[in-house]
Symmetry: C3
Subunit: 258 residues, 3 copies
């Protein structure tokens, strides 16, 4: 049995479903590599417009596979490799040209919470919860906090890290870890709707824009403006921009060719 | 007819009113240059204490002038010049010694939304809305996101960028794009009141402090402390600081000389 | 009489109580140095697990001692030394291996507000308020804003700095300057409870994790992942991690040896 299911939905929405419910979808090296392979393929796939990461079963992901971590602990090289491979996979989401949406139903803890933070958008069912419980097992959530602390305020992050407590989906929405909470029974449909709306936009411009977004975030504001002025100029050379502006001026719907 | 009206109000509050209501105050090269000229003059003007940017008519600003952008599209140099000139103008607000307040009544979209984000403070009427709709016309809001992403969380920013949807003034307040929402009929008076209160403060210290604020934001915390320790020391050499502290200790109102 | 009281509470919680109520606990050079000495000692003390900073009397801290600032104003070297000594003390909280919690009951203004922002967690009574009132006395809160602007959004920070107005504890919770508001009569007990819970976690992992948290914040995301992957690997070599994971797999409570 595979650790993930994938399918291409209508509107070229690609769904990755974590599928190891009994173990609560741990981010084992095998799962990390499967996700990395997916992202490497998606990157080259011009058909896919939006990616959704969801799960079967009652959990989203409980984080690293602790049995595996314990086994790897004998070799520093193995351990370091595990964390680096995981970090690289998380960064692949950031640098994927397509938007990636986390659709969370159940627990998202440690590296599972990092996965949510790493996605461009995140939605969750009301019964979901989020947690960085490393302090409970003597292994501080140091790699997860890299992604999470870039989305939420330091005081909220510190509370999660030091208390190790669960926070509810509603609280996660309030602190901006996720975009919005839906009822459990509505979640998947709502997320598909949002994804579907995005597929109707100019995906050519989304691809250049998403990359530019994360690139400019780490720059000084002056450099960020210099860089994005170049990006806007390049973007204007695209067919979509010409068609989109044409359509706007002519008060009609654009007819994307990409 | 000029694209902007300006007037010096009581308490040395300077009002810039965008005045091209039929076209929804597009940030054409001409308007950008007019604003740049204003900011260049205000910078040297020691009388002006606070600047308010507002608009006539039902819109604040709908962003770049798409007819102009389409025309410029034939020349990459022209286009790049447009975006760079606009970025420079936005940065001028940041580096203006006087506080700049956006007073938004109506739509603030794309570069219009960037203008709001670039101001030090922003207030809006309840019926206003905010939007980065570039994905709808194939031209991702890459330069606007530079200013906006430095004020709001990444998840909220991404939703605005990818969906292209309008967000309400109340939502904009919640995500910290603006400071506060007022009823439409109260907006201008409330903003004047806030501006007026600021003019009563030590404007000498505001000038050195505002500049220091943005400068320190991009530094490591250690460098930021080293830099602002110098700024505080310099500030203490000002007449206002001497008078202000004197007045505080003597339990009387300060009598600013600047 | 000493400017601070200290005591080691149950669960190895160390309490520093600002104790100059008549003067509203001003951060005079003497108090700053006392706090610095405390932090230098705590850093080397392996018994102390969590630090709480609170106050006697009706104020938390009103900021620098203005009488002293005025006296120092004659010598630029003295002034610069005051601000640098204060900044260093604030940074010591950040780099202290133990979590530091601000327990605020009353006013926290200027450098007093900076002290709250510098702590890892902060809780306040409902009647507390927060303020950066420098503009009222001609001395912009330039060093306080270094800490505060790294916790709250720029628009909120600018409003505090330019208006000099008090914000309520509930507002401070909303803008993420503090974690949570409690009723005045419940505050100290609630904060002790939170601190106590943290002492039950793996303090060995908290020590490595807290340091890593602030270090990674200023890095690019790529460097942050490289760095924290090393930190996680090192953390896995600790007794606590071995015991914690062991306990988790065996479904029992961990038995920390540190």
């Amino acid at each position: 049995m595979s650790l993930i299911n994938t399918k291409l939905e209508k509107d070229n929405i690609y769904i990755i479903e974590l599928n190891n419910p009994k173990k609560r979808n741990p981010l084992s090296l095998e799962l990390i590599k499967s996700l990395q392979n997916e992202f490497d393929d998606i990157k080259k796939n011009k058909q896919i417009k939006v990616v959704i990461i969801q799960s079967t079963g009652p959990s989203f992901s409980a984080g690293h596979d602790l049995t595996e971590v314990r086994k790897s602990a004998k070799s520093k090289i193995k351990l370091l490799n595990l964390f680096k491979t995981c970090s690289k996979m998380m960064l692949s989401i950031r640098y994927l040209p397509q938007p990636v949406i986390a659709c969370v139903d159940g627990i998202a803890a440690a590296a599972g919470c990092q996965l949510v933070a790493s996605c461009d958008l995140a939605f969750a069912s009301k019964n979901s919860y989020f947690q960085t419980p490393g302090v409970n097992i003597g292994l501080f959530c140091s790699t997860p906090m890299v992604a999470i602390s870039r989305k939420i305020s330091s005081k909220d992050m510190m509370y999660m890290l030091l208390s190790g407590e669960k926070i509810s989906a509603l609280e996660a929405e309030k602190i901006k870890l996720i975009n919005k909470v839906f009822l459990k029974k509505a979640l998947k449909k709502e997320v598909i709707n949002i994804a579907s709306k995005i597929t109707k936009k100019s995906n050519q411009s989304i691809k250049i824009g998403k990359l530019a977004f994360y690139n400019q975030l780490d720059m000084s504001i002056e450099k960020a403006y210099e860089y994005t002025s170049q990006v806007m100029t390049k973007n204007m050379g695209f067919n979509d921009a010409k068609e989109g502006i044409e359509a706007f001026i002519e008060k009609r719907s654009p007819n994307w060719k990409n």
